[in-house]
Amino acid sequence: MANVAIRDVIKRYGSVQVMHGVDVDIEDGEFVVLVGPSGCGKSTLLRMIAGLEAISGGEIRIGDRLVNDVPPKERDIAMVFQSYALYPHKTVAENIGFPLKMAKRPKAEIAEKVNYAADILDLTKYLDRYPKALSGGQRQRVAMGRAIVRDPQVFLFDEPLSNLDAKLRVTMRVEIKELHQRLGTTIVYVTHDQIEAMTMADKIVVMRDGRVEQIGAPLDLYDDPRNVFVAGFIGSPSMNFIHGTIAGGTQGRVFRSHEGLELPLPPTAAVEGQEVTYGIRPEHISVGEGGIPVKVVVVEPTGSETQVFARSGKNLIDAIVKERIRARPGEEIGFRIDAADVRLFDRKTEQRI
């Protein structure tokens, strides 16, 4: 068990710089989730922590030891690759037991741990198979198994559940959480899945284009996104954004979109006439009398809730409500917004105001 400190890390491939000074502090025993759009550098960062990729600048420490030049096998980390990286010539059992065999553990102990992992991962039936005879999800589970038989300083997971079906994904999510609680080992986890990120993380790191946009607890990021990118990336479905300016109305200041739509404002430091982006989450909009008039485009009931896409001028606004709505496309309804739920961003810098 150890903390991981990533300080001003830079990565260049030849003349292309893909990592521009990343700073992340991971506490001992913390579950940290890296999120960000495809190609933002999540895998690269993970590989640098693992030692598979040399870092071009900055430093990485694992448990106070500077590991910039320490080879992977001496870093005592377990990793699940995005591509599974199974040993094609070894059976499932041999794959899972490989790290133990390399550590020269006794045969009985290896067998026991392999069986235990296979049991958790529902792989017992496949222990004698070769990877080529497994489905994508089964391969992914073998890769997981190879990590969880170990007791490393840090676990690194690169989208370990991306190929599993919904049910198995939930099981595995719980399994990983439980593993984390039982061992208390530091985990760095990459995912595209909002729910995984929100439910598993102690701390989420949002990345974009080789930079860290914001670091924080899941709900902090949800409630207090620092900029438009984080606001749009965290939360599903994503936040509605409307461009406009701050205007002085008869009952105090309001937000006025370019098409003249007026929306309520929270207390804000924004000055009159400032170009802003107005953000409101779909789940913070309710439908009712006296709201902002909008025209329904699509209504999508999922049973537990209803998603309504509606148009006001050019802006398409997305709302999620608990009640069932029987509006037809084209019909006019009212969207109600509580000013306290609104997040304002500067139009140019995209930073929160």
């Binding site: 040993y87 059976t91 390399m102």
Partner: protein, 291 residues
Amino acid sequence: MQSNKLGWFLLAPTLVVLFFFGVIPFFYVVWLAFHQWNPFAVNPEIVFNGAANFRQLVFDQGFLASLGVTIAFVFFAVTTELIIGYALAQAFMRDFPGKAFFRTIHTLPLIMAPIIVGSIWKLMTTPSIGIIPQFLDNWFGYDLNIGQSALAAFTVTVIMDVWHWTPLVTLTMIAALVSLPPDPFEQAQIDGANKRQIFWHITLPMIRPAILATVFIRLMDALRTVDEVLMLTGGGPGSATRYLGVHIFKEVFPKTNYGYGSAVSVIVLYLTIVVCWLLFVALIAPRNKKG
């Protein structure tokens, strides 16, 4: 139907050539193996003599000795070629200045005809004029004389074969190594394997098919080595380097014993098949069955 006809039409030239130069000679040799034929003798008829050639072969001290030295020769030559070939391939996987140049010139022996290789090595190893005995004498006071020492002659033929054919092994090993996926190697480092463990547990098993194919090719080639050795030692001293190919050559051409030579050829072919089959069964088949 039409494309089928066209297929046969296009294949026909190859099949005809194969038939006349491959199939007919093969059966002809098998047929000859059961006959006595000495075309340059007073009585040049081909006479059926049943299994007499094979009976003679089993009791032929010359043949048995030849078989023994051939096995030793093939074993040492092919093993050494594999080890050096793999090491060179690993070296060529790294980047160093002049890599392309060295990789090219190291394959030069491959394009030389065996008879030339034999001649060059004869020139280099002949006592009193060869460069090798000269240096061995100057540096180590060792007197290399492949005309007299059986061990020296044997060793030199092995070294010559290694010199000639290692580049082939290097090339196939390079081809195998560059086609390996990088992931398992990275994973193995993460899993705590050191260099030696990675070699034994990951690299070797993953290039095993390529190694086996190379061994098959080299085995078959080495088993029928003739011209290089004939040129270098003539099979001597005594019968120290009288490998099967040389043995057959000497039976067939100087002694003009075509029937007996054919019988030995058939046995060599049979041996080659058996050895390759054994290797296959021992090393490839079990894995396929499990998978």
